[in-house]
């Protein structure tokens, strides 16, 4: 089963549902739709607080004019080794300045979560058993010193300009 995790812990009552042909958001749930459906929605309505999922081949910068309509952007890892969503998350935060929730969905594994966090991902839809166990034990396998600035704000390491500490 899938649980939503943030750095503050597991989220109990997450309303978001990724809509597919079979799955639709219920009355007290919120829909995450694909990029094309989202762009249609913003053109056809004044709705705000929307959710969108960015697939690996999508151009995330198409969201730029509509950020004020968005509450959540899911970035998809269809397989853990498809790293495009790391760039999507980075662009969302550092380039577009999106301040809403960025969520990793798909093949979210424990060893990748620290990297995703640094790229500006804030919440994680986790179903992998090891990842769930580790997260519930508070054992995230990250490293506290970094050799590069990234989308997630971090502290200057008081050393060379590219170094950071979390």
């Amino acid at each position: 089963m899938t649980k939503i995790w943030k750095e503050t812990g597991f989220v109990g009552d997450d309303p978001w549902v990724i809509e597919t042909e079979e799955t639709k958001a219920g009355s007290n749930e919120k829909a995450i739709v694909g990029l094309d459906a989202f762009l249609k929605k913003v053109a056809d309505s004044d709705e705000t607080g929307l959710g969108v999922v960015i697939a690996p081949a999508d151009d995330v910068t198409k969201l730029a004019p509509h950020l004020d309509r968005l509450a959540l952007v899911a970035v998809a890892f269809p397989a853990f080794n498809d790293g495009r969503a790391f760039s999507h998350a980075s662009l969302l935060r550092a380039r577009l300045g999106f301040t809403g929730e960025v969520r990793a969905v798909g093949d979210v594994l424990i060893d990748q979560i620290p990297l995703m966090l640094r790229c500006g991902v804030e919440s994680f839809a986790v179903s992998n058993a090891t990842a769930l166990k580790r997260l519930s034990e508070g054992r995230l396998p990250g490293i506290a010193v970094h050799y590069q600035p990234t989308a997630k704000p971090s502290t200057d390491a008081k050393s060379y300009s590219w170094r950071r500490v979390s």
Partner: protein, 556 residues
Amino acid sequence: MYRYDEFDHAFVSSRVEQFRDQVERRLSGELAEDAFKPLRLMNGVYLQLHAYMLRVAIPYGTLSSRQMRMLAHIARKYDRGYGHFTTRQNIQYNWPRLSDTPDILQELASVEMHALQTSGNCIRNVTADHFAGAAADEVADPRPYAEILRQWSSVHPEFSFLPRKFKIAVTGAERDRAAIQVHDIGLHLKKDENGRIGFAVYVGGGQGRTPMIAKKIRDFLPEEDLLSYTTAIMRVYNLHGRRDNKYKARIKILVHETGAEELSRQVEVEFAALKDTELKLPETDIQAISTYFAPPALENRAEGWESLARWKKTDPEFARWVQQNVQPHKHPDYGMVTISLKPIGGIPGDASDAQMDAVADIAEEYAFDEIRVSHEQNLILPHVALADLEPVYRALVASGLATANAGLITDIIACPGLDYCALANARSIPVAQEISTRFGSPERQAEIGELKIKISGCINACGHHHVGHIGLLGVEKKGAELYQITLGGSGDENTSIGEIIGRGFEPEKVTDAVETIVDTYLGLRRDGQETFLEAYRRVGPQPFKDALYGSAQEAA
């Protein structure tokens, strides 16, 4: 050379602990092999034909004696008493146990070394000219920039799951000894008309099954923009590089399919947004890193000229070694020494633990504690006084390390091939050994002159056959090994990809074929000064085809 500070120590030891945890999870079965694979690869651990293989990073090929002794210690304690220096200036061990690898990494960390990103679909060890900081023709030392790139690319969260591996090489001289045009990114350090330091940027070179020469996408990139521009390239590649076919996933294919001009435009758009961010390099930081690479204080040792002449006169073998393996240093009283890891009939790039210890001792006593690994799989002592060449030579002779063949026909590059590698189709090492033995006579090698033979045991081209003056590619045909020959390749500032000369040769015939090619060259060269490559570029493949396959017969 670069020395770790507290930050680096904290990083590497955290990384070792992180990997130890991953190995424990793998051994307990909690972590599946397919999920473990990219993690172990990013820590240098491969699964090969017979065993795990550990590839240790030697950033831009620079080592101290203390580090070399550690490499010897690891060979002795965890392997079978030897290690193999690679074409990416690294060393690999062929027989470690997976359960030992965290301990090996911990031992490496104690001498400021690691195995980070020597494999996997990430930014690999950054390579540089092995004569950096010593060569007379250098504009600036490329290693400070390679070190900055090494740091910045270490566990880069955005670029750890790229479509494919990514290799960066830096050269600081017009004469390219780092083969930058066959790298994913090649950086050529230069000065602009105002004397500012920057880089010509090449993208999309590579070997493998689709060899391509890199395209220059920037004539001059100011040094302060190094990280922002590199980030721009990496981001364009990460987002748009092909992921549907691993054989088309390198950036060279993206450059080829997108076109260099369009790709360059995309990179410039991304760069424009990144240029004035926190990635901009402050002059003070470049200076601070450069300080680590300041050359040793080289005293004038003019007495060496006279003693060198005397020793050469009394010992022709020493004279031959100096002639072949010592090159001029920017200080006239010094030389750059190549320690050949290509003994006649031996395995290219292999060194025993005792040999590594011996090199460490020699470097400490005579060479300012500095050793380099060249991409041609030799070791280099970059700063040796002419006055010390004779004792250095004697010590090398005692360890079987004084083969006088740098740049000659027996200075062969070869991949591990089917003797070790899980990818190989054919053996490389025995072919290298046989060619080396056939041409082993010093007189014959001297007559042939500069000739680079490079051998790969499969299409992935780790033995760089595409850029060999003579390249041999092992393929498998109907269950048997066959060697395809390419001619005219070169990995320098005039990079060219070798042309396939005709149908391949069986293992027992390939050395004869090489000999036919060499004899053809000797017969047609203008004079003793015209090298094999020059002659080939002048006459083309036909005379060689005729000699190999007969003039009437159409080469298949």
